[in-house]
Subunit: 195 residues, 4 copies
């Protein structure tokens, strides 16, 4: 019951984050095809961020089914995650505006890195306050994706100063890697329900 | 229980999409009647899109009562639908700004076409993962409206380059056709409840 | 169960409507007191509209406890109400920008008039589809406030062309009249719960 | 059941308030590091306000578990609180734009002061309408934080005209003081559940 409101609030913030990004797709003043060509990078960065927020929402959804007490620590860990995700529209907009430059590409990676760390902290909080600690830990296993992602983000941040396009390719790679939701958790949730 | 959060998130996104569009109705700097006359096409495109989002929300609502497991596939099919609907404010704003031109009229149709395809994909996902497959399939019947709409959108996209007003008339026609919610699903939902 | 999603969607739209209005309070570029003095009429129109949306949310809340089936007609009647309420930020912003002129004052009244009519239509739909028709009708009694408000709005629209301040005084009067929520419905809801 | 919708609406408004603030972080037109340096005060004021809204959401959440009837008075007390919180993005944006000046610093404190008073009023309403008056009153104890905060806000408003940075330090101090959620209420909620 308590987590319900945590979920509702998170859903609200994520829904707004995902929708606010589209405001960066400024309506062109011309009406020819050429008027929307410059919007293409903005559009592509929107697609990438849409997928990222979708992934977070999806995994968050699975994770919260384990956190049943909504303690103060869990709430703040969740707020911390929402904080970094709320910066995604800013990072996305900057990438859309100056995609060929180093700083926006690095900034995007930084926000994603911080969101990944915040998610990890939330995960640890929920595992430690959950009564089903061992089960959840086993379900997450070695959490390879959760460990590899920050490393890729760090690499992408560094490479942004060499060639921004490599960074974007890496961000897209991480997104692809995560687009399959956490099957481990999904399986446990499924078993829990079946039981 | 699981679909509840899917619905809540979708409702959030749709509520924001529908409300964000009104921001395109820029507050006039003058205070005479003539100051709001140029807003008329913006207003009309807002009305049309409001009705469209309303239709999607409505049918989505009926459709989701059948999808009870919120699998990864269903979630991503739903995200895909929300993605195209999130572009409705952009398409609407462009139409409002340059309604007499071909490209905005075609762009509006393209977004609507993609949303229709995304809805169809979601429908197929939910039918295939639902335990009540045959029943649902029977309820949807031949899904005439679902098959005709994309064809009309395609025609409207082509006709936009001949005469944009015909495209808008066609979009309005599809909206009228759908404004009556999917009675087939509604009937089945009703029977389900009665049982 | 069905109305739950209707309520959730309406809450989402109303929450966004009420919050989007604050965006009209443009952040001043100066930092002296004189920089925010011109914001006073914008602020006052925000307060008035905030109260209006609050009233609608409040009464909507009571009304929907009676509509338990969420038929297509109820859904569209509800959408129709949300449509007019979604125009409140526009009307409010215009009033804030040119409060001394006739048209914005009349426009505000027109939006309020249409919202009041839309609410009345929704009320009739819910009464007619509710199984507790007589009880609800009795509870609403002669609905004096619901009948007087449109008349005052009409008067205010007319008087806007004589002296806009009178219109604003009338809008404030209607708000005050409604700020006390529909005790009639509240009483019936209370009895229903007690039973 | 009744408070559920009050909570849902409040969550919606707070989620939008917290996310709308990020729109003040205008996307820089340059792509160098120097382009985002001027955004630092805007970012810091965003962090502070994010924490404040988080605190309110958190405490609101605990408080509402006690208010189970959603009377008209409670609803309006809640609306009143949301009104002042809806002004946080404005105050934050002004601080971000002119942080070295007295007026924005004082304005921020004023909005926080009014929100604190509104919260206190809501608390009193919920205590008085709750059937568990004595228990709740005992749980809140002397409410030292609730009494000290307005005093600090008042001091900060005054000191803004001497040295704005002191005001900001005081706002940060109050946030730190509250970041630990109301353990008193949390304890009682916990016991209530255990019982």
């Amino acid at each position: 019951m308590n987590t319900a409101r945590l979920e509702a609030f998170s859903d609200g913030v994520l829904a707004i984050v995902i929708t606010i990004m589209v405001l960066e797709l400024k309506i062109p003043h011309g009406a020819e095809l050429s008027a929307i060509v410059p919007l293409l990078p903005v559009f592509l960065s929107y697609v990438l961020s849409f997928v990222y927020v979708g992934i977070y929402w999806n995994n968050h959804h699975h994770l919260l089914t384990f956190g049943t007490r909504a303690t103060a620590r869990e709430m703040w860990a969740n707020m911390h995650l929402l904080f970094w995700l709320s910066l995604v529209p800013f990072a996305t907009g900057w990438v859309g505006e100056s995609h060929g430059s180093a700083m926006p590409a690095a900034c995007y990676g930084f926000v994603m890195l911080m969101a990944a760390i915040a998610y990890k902290i939330l995960q640890i909080q929920i595992i430690s306050s959950s009564g089903r600690r061992d089960e959840l830990r086993a379900a997450l296993g070695r959490d390879v994706k959760g460990l590899i992602s920050p490393v890729i983000y760090l690499a992408a941040i560094g490479l942004a100063f060499v060639m921004p396009m490599i960074s974007y390719a890496l961000y897209a790679l991480v997104a692809l890697m995560w687009i399959v939701p956490d099957r481990r958790l999904e399986r446990v949730v499924g078993e829990k329900r079946a039981a």
